[in-house]
Symmetry: C2
Subunit: 208 residues, 2 copies
DNA sequence: CGTAACTTGTGAAATCATTCACAAGCGCGC
DNA sequence: GCGCGCTTGTGAATGATTTCACAAGTTACG
């Protein structure tokens, strides 16, 4: 298939959220315009986004809410449960481990790791923190799909290397460090200080 | 000034990180190529990014590390301390309140709020959690520049409205909900489940 | 001083993403 | 069955961002 822009995937995910709400309200169909209004975009954008994957709408009527949400779930790979491990049980790692939103969307935290012996053994919402030295063995056994990395910046790269070597194919990184991954691993980074810096830029430069 | 793309601002912020490391290592100058290698981009991109703001380099030599980092800090508005409040002292709010990275980059958490009486009064890294009812009064008094919103999705919009009405001009939202802000307020959202869904998409669609 | 080796700054070209605009399909009422 | 109102799907146009490519400036050094 043709390459799909990340911005498109991001929007699909937002459409899906809204479709679920809309379905819960008992609606059968929805138009691209209504979907657009919610996501802060335009009806043309919605139709273009969907058109990359086929044509699911009915002219004059719109889209079937349930069919469309099923299809988007399929496109995004959300028809299944993904096994997630969390590396780093500090403040951020612990918050992530206990975040409800993940399970609701099919992301199941199967294990959490920390290097600090004081953290090891603690229970985070039912998941016991394990010693980081068990990472390789556990990955071989549990075969997690995704790793969340929530460790200090200076130890992030070695851990990425260990994860990649052990066969993890997707990493969501929260450490504020630029990381290298081998070709077969997908890396995404969330950098909260960077988001604040963008706000700072806007406060300084964007005003009348 | 001409409008600057967000992607450019994002990269500037990354260049700055690297410049600081590089400066600490005692280097005087750096070329666009070296800066690019670090940030995972190209030398042309680096030069184009910087060219929007002037020309700070010397042909044949590169950029002065200290002059360039000073200039980028200026562009991003990081020459000062920004006052930040955190609304919501649950797992995520508490983790944010205790995150070191913010203070290091000039973002000072001055106050934290929660609606749950059980949370109020707790100390998070020296900052006492206050009652959410004090929000308006405190904002008038403290004049925070930025609010971090870490509350459940269903109460996010009313809080955004209260923040906006009280004069907060920038909000970084962690609640998984689509939010509306008045024209004079800048909103950015970080949605962690959405990041996982993008990884899910890549796992399903991008592989050989 | 002259030349070689670098590196910047920047128009022009290429690529990528969004918006426009409209033909064509569908449902409903008569 | 026909016409009206609504909505999709999609090429074409526009707009935005990235990459190319090269003239011109700088240093180093014989």
């Amino acid at each position: 298939m043709k390459h799909i822009a990340e911005s498109t995937v991001r929007r699909l995910s937002r459409y899906l959220r809204f479709l679920e709400d809309f379905e819960a309200q008992g609606h059968q169909t929805i138009s691209s315009g209504a979907l657009a209004a919610q996501g802060g975009t335009t009806s043309a954008q919605v139709r273009k986004d969907l058109s990359f994957f086929g044509s699911f709408g009915k002219r004059g009527l719109g889209y079937s809410v349930s069919a469309l949400s099923t299809r988007i779930r399929e496109i995004l790979g959300l028809g299944r449960t993904w096994k997630v491990i969390i590396v780093g049980a500090g403040k951020i790692g612990a918050a992530l481990a206990q975040y409800r939103g993940f399970r609701e969307r099919g992301f199941l935290v199967v294990s959490v790791y920390d290097a600090d012996p004081a953290s090891v053994g603690r229970s985070l919402d039912g998941v016991i923190v394990r010693d980081q030295r068990q990472l390789e063995g556990d990955i071989a056994r549990l075969k997690p799909d995704i790793a969340l990395l929530a460790v200090p910046g200076d130890v992030a790269q070695p851990l990425v290397d260990r994860l990649a070597r052990s066969g993890v194919r997707a990493i969501l990184n929260f450490a504020p460090a630029p990381l290298q991954v081998p070709e077969h691993v997908t890396l995404r980074s969330v950098n909260m200080a960077l988001e604040l810096e963008i706000l700072s830029y806007e406060l300084v430069n964007k005003r009348p």
